[in-house]
């Protein structure tokens, strides 16, 4: 029973690969055709509906679009700013709260109770109410050093609201690390804190990246809720334009900008998910 030392592709294998290539070309052309058909069908259904001309005029008016875009875009920069500042703050709050909920020592009971109360309250209250309460309530206290800038108040409100969600995501991640990892770390003499820091949280963080990014996609569009307390962000700018012309196309411009921001994030999430899948497959 002798075997070749190096692989020389057989005629049969070459034929098999040719066949596979042919099949993959066929399946991608089927995918393209069915996608195009679906889009054509959807466009046809919408543009042939009886109210289409009016909808087109109110929502898809190119003239209004061009007129509103610069203002909406400049407002959108504020959304991005709010988002970029809120995101790291949320991560910190979320992780701290999750860690506080995992403190087992009796002395830490108040901290643990506070963390539980925080997540219960802020996950329960609708984000828009939190924004009202913080936006109008905090400055009304008249405390010294309390920020009065509306965007800053918006960041605080979003951080409070999203911090509670993210804390739960982190906690789920921490709980999902197998107890054997705790046993191994503690057996080496690592304290609770060190076990968390060097063994559990690094594993948990990798696992929760996809759900975290999902929350951040959601945060990106919820920055528009800050409009309710007044700062001139994208939605507010669109509202101003719409109010003067009774045309809703500026909202469409704002929606487009939000989509443009969330799509790369969504693809990045997909990429990370695919990567971890590949790693597990090996």
């Amino acid at each position: 029973m002798t075997a070749q030392t190096a692989w020389v592709k057989s005629e049969r294998q070459a034929e098999r690969e040719r066949l596979r290539r042919k099949r993959s070309i066929r399946s991608s052309s089927i995918a393209t055709t069915s996608t195009v058909l679906l889009i054509v069908l959807l466009v046809w259904v919408f543009t042939n509906s009886p109210g289409w001309p009016r909808v087109q005029e109110t929502f898809f008016n190119p003239e209004q679009f061009v007129k509103a875009l610069p203002d909406v875009l400049s407002g959108f920069l504020l959304n991005i700013k709010i988002f970029l500042i809120a995101e790291p703050l949320i991560l910190i709050v979320g992780l701290l709260v999750a860690l506080a909920r995992n403190l087992k020592a009796p002395a830490f009971f108040p901290l643990r109770a506070l963390a539980v109360a925080y997540t219960d309250v802020f996950r329960g209250v609708p984000t828009i109410l939190v924004i009202y309460l913080v936006g109008f309530g905090l400055p009304a206290l008249g405390l010294q050093g309390m920020p009065t800038d509306l965007a800053t108040l918006g960041v605080i409100a979003l951080t409070l609201s999203y911090g509670a969600y993210v804390a739960e995501v982190f906690r789920a991640g921490i709980d999902s690390v197998h107890p054997s990892q705790w046993a191994a770390a503690r057996s080496l003499g690592l304290s609770h804190g060190r076990t968390m820091r060097y063994v559990v949280v690094p594993q948990a963080a990798r696992r929760v990246v996809p759900p975290l990014l999902n929350d951040f996609v959601s945060l990106q569009k919820d920055t528009a809720l800050v409009a309710t307390i007044g700062p001139l962000e994208a939605l507010r700018q669109a509202q101003i334009h719409a109010a003067s012309t009774f045309n809703y196309t500026p909202y469409l411009a704002a929606a487009l900008l939000f989509i443009l921001l969330t799509i790369p994030m969504a693809r990045f999430t997909d990429y990370l998910a695919a990567r971890s899948q590949r790693r597990r497959g090996q």
Partner: protein, 247 residues
């Protein structure tokens, strides 16, 4: 005609070849035992037969049909064989009974009543009648592996592939799993198994194949392989196993 015929199978991973042109044929009712060091390609060969891995060259015929054909329906081909893994791979969210009846019910369209009756019969035959409603994590390793074997049997395969089925078990539990395999052989089941249990291999195999670096180096009866191996590599391997007192 052989039940299973493997011809010139190659499998490459990341530029290195795990299987290097393996030929092997298995007759109906034959028990073939693959031996060899870790990484010699035994498990990969089983996974190729079950089409869990796509071969990079060569052909595999099952009952005369080429199952490595690109056009072949993989699910259809797999229905004709059962595979049992080293780590059991039971579904943790299902009871023993549901684990066993899943494929008969969903793939082979057997009614729930009949599937469960057959499953209970199999469980009774292998001494697990009282475990039908239990979840896998309530069972010992030996019991889990017996359930895994029953799960594979429940689809009435014509070929069973057993991949190191006792390697994850402690010695006290190995016996009950080996007992099942003996019963299967007595019932005329065609099997290919990889194992480190040389004593068992010698007892149960009709044919022993020694794999080394992805090459099927030597094939013979258990008597011949274990008492008079022709290849120096086979002798070396058997001696190292003997040294670790697993023979």
């Amino acid at each position: 005609m052989s039940l299973l015929s493997i011809e010139g199978v190659w499998k490459n991973y990341h530029g290195s070849s795990v299987l290097r042109g393996v030929d092997l044929s298995v007759e109906a009712h034959e028990v073939v035992c693959l031996i060899g060091a870790s990484g010699s390609g035994k498990s990969t060969l089983l996974r190729c037969v079950n089409l869990l891995e796509t071969v990079d060259d060569g052909v595999i015929y099952l009952d005369g049909d080429e199952i490595t054909d690109v056009r072949v329906d993989v699910d259809q081909a797999r229905r004709r064989m059962g595979i049992v893994f080293q780590a059991f791979n039971l579904f943790p969210h299902m009871t023993v009974l549901d684990n066993i009846t899943l494929a008969p019910r969903k793939v082979h369209k057997v009614g729930r009543g009949q599937a469960e009756e057959e499953a209970r019969e199999l469980l009774a035959r292998f001494g697990l009648a009282d475990k039908a409603g239990a979840y896998p994590d309530r069972l010992s390793g030996g019991q889990q592996q017996r359930v895994a074997i029953i799960r594979a049997l429940a689809t009435r395969p014509s070929l069973m592939l057993l991949d190191e089925v006792t390697s994850a078990l402690d010695p006290a539990l190995v016996k009950e799993v080996l007992e099942i395999i003996r019963e299967l052989k007595a019932g005329g089941m065609t099997m290919i198994l990889t194992t480190h249990e040389m004593g068992f291999c010698r007892e149960i195999a009709d044919t022993v194949c020694f794999l080394d670096g992805g090459v099927l180096l030597e094939r013979g009866t258990p008597e011949q392989i274990f008492t008079d191996p022709r290849e120096p590599r086979t002798r070396e391997f058997l001696r190292s196993v003997l040294d670790s007192r697993r023979l």
